[in-house]
Amino acid sequence: MFPTPIDKWKPAPRRLYKLSLPVALIIWLLPMIAVLMTSVRSSEELSEGNYWGWPKHFALVDNYREALTTSPMLHYFWNSVLITVPSVVCAIALAAMAGFALAIYRFPGNSALFATFVAGNFVPIQVLMIPVRDLTLKLGLYNTVGGLILFHLSFQTGFCALFLRNFIKQLPYELVEAARIEGANEWTVFFRIILPLIRPALAALAILVFTFVWNDYFWALCLTQGDDAAPITVGVAALKGQWTTAWNLVSAGSILAALPSVAMFFAMQKHFVAGLTFGATKG
């Protein structure tokens, strides 16, 4: 274990270390704490200039209600849900099948296909912008939730396929052979043998892709206009322009925008970290 475990430290440094932890944490999260505090302040207090003192009066309910009702924040939030959930489900479904095929079958072009999926992850998204925007316009999907879903699911499929292919390759191949000898067809092998085994990987991916898609801002800007299909990231960014001084509302909106991915992360932390660090320890 590195560094030396603190059990082996002298008592004084050990105590100092334990004391330093909360301090470091507060400094690290200071910007976030500030936003949380502002989101419960009333507008009057902010206009008086009380930004940093203890709030005299908690306007939690008022601020959030105002952010939710005077702006289409709930509508944006719902759009985000409508975009994110189908994108994640479809991307993972497509990628599970593709990853299975890439890991189990040998055919000419296997490596080339795999390389394409890998390379797709490194393409700067801006390179895709103009043609994807044009395609979406031509399909009549511009400014619709559907246009964003189709793009996100395709883009994330590449990443997920790479991830799942590597995961399936680590499974013992005898399982597949044994199932085939038992007379299972290829679909059964996939559905009954492989799919249950890769469930942890699917969970890790789902949560990771969820945060990627939920937090997306660039594509929402490119493929939507106005309020119809705009997700919450666009809504919150627009708040900044709308009420330049109403930072309490901006904070409340930001927290709404951040809530689902933060909640997902804390609820499924182990899976999230496993997904994120996949590959980091094996070169």
Partner: protein, 319 residues
């Protein structure tokens, strides 16, 4: 992730060309028939499994990439017909002062963003202790990473605000970080380092759990400690993690868009723009799609050098 099953190792080279043959070793050593019905059926299954993903990736990733490259040789406003103009977009680009501002800022982004892996390592080393409640502390340190770029941008715009921001409170007087061409880019990068450091930290925390403790104990017996131990024993073992951290950081630096868009919109006077933002601006605001595509191609070329390097490493580690 560390226990790799040895079944995954493939016979090297030529064997992969044999169509449809399952890749596992043949226990009885019997030669297989060239194209047996089983092999054909498996090949068809492979195609069916791959088709949906391949079609979607082809339409939304591969074709757009090629299309952008083609478009960079055209003049197009998105409505009328595109005119082929050869290299004119690139020539104009290489004479545009904003392009050099963007390029310079991209270099600054790359350089400063690469502080994230060492800072992440520092925090990971700091947190790699078994203390009650450590799990929650680690999660809270990691939390910035799950925030959207928009939220991080808003948080920091507010942090930098010269009249009431936290920075003005700490410094004692307002510093218009985002309104000053000298400070805007470093200011945005500082904000971007917050989630990125958290990301690198979690990579290193995982990396630290895979260390070979025998080697460390042996080195300690020899009297190595502190920096020496870190530099000569720990860091070499963490090399895959460092590689990964650098890869994600480089890609993050080149993709930077959200924070710039939210915090400065490329301003003041386009001083904090980067290639990704400049490209977006030209396409959406000025309808100069061909020119914009040329910027994207330059960005892509920079990334491509990196992709090739990464892919070669990835594929060589497979065999």
């Amino acid at each position: 992730m560390t226990h790799r099953v040895d079944m995954t190792s493939e016979p090297p080279g030529g064997g992969s060309e044999r169509a449809g043959a399952p890749r596992a070793t043949n226990p009885h050593g019997r030669p297989r028939r060239r194209v047996s019905p089983t092999a054909r059926r498996q090949r068809r299954a492979a195609c069916l499994f791959l088709a949906p993903a391949c079609i979607m990736v082809a339409i939304y990733v591969v074709w757009p990439t090629l299309s952008t490259i083609r478009l960079s040789f055209y003049s197009w406003d998105g409505m009328s017909d595109a005119n082929f103009i050869g290299l004119a977009n690139y020539i104009e680009l290489f004479h545009a002062p904003t392009f050099y501002t963007a390029l310079k800022n991209n270099v600054i982004w790359l350089a400063l963003f690469l502080l994230a892996p060492p800072m992440g390592l520092a925090i990971a080393l700091y947190l790699n202790q078994a203390v009650a409640g450590m799990r929650i502390v680690k999660s809270l340190f990691f939390a910035p990473f799950v925030l959207s770029g928009v939220v991080v941008g808003l948080i920091y715009s507010w942090f930098y605000d010269p009249t009431f921001g936290l920075l003005a409170l700490i410094a004692g007087h307002g510093i218009p970080v985002l309104g000053d061409p000298r400070y805007a880019t470093p200011g945005i990068i500082f904000a971007a380092l917050w989630p990125q450091t958290a990301y690198c930290m979690i990579l290193y925390l995982t990396g630290l759990t895979t260390l070979n403790s025998e080697q460390i104990e042996a080195a300690r017996m020899e009297g190595a400690k502190g920096w020496t131990l870190l530099w000569h024993v720990i860091l070499p073992q963490l090399r895959p993690t460092t590689f990964m951290a650098v890869v994600v950081t480089v890609i993050g630096a080149l993709r930077s868009f959200d924070l710039i868009s939210v915090m400065t919109g490329g301003g003041p006077f386009e001083s904090s723009t980067v290639l990704a933002y400049y490209m977006y601006d030209q396409a959406i605001k000025y309808y100069r799609l061909g020119y914009s595509a040329a910027i994207a191609v330059v960005l892509f070329a920079i990334m491509l050098l990196y992709i090739v390097y990464h892919l070669r490493r990835l594929l060589s580690s497979e065999h």
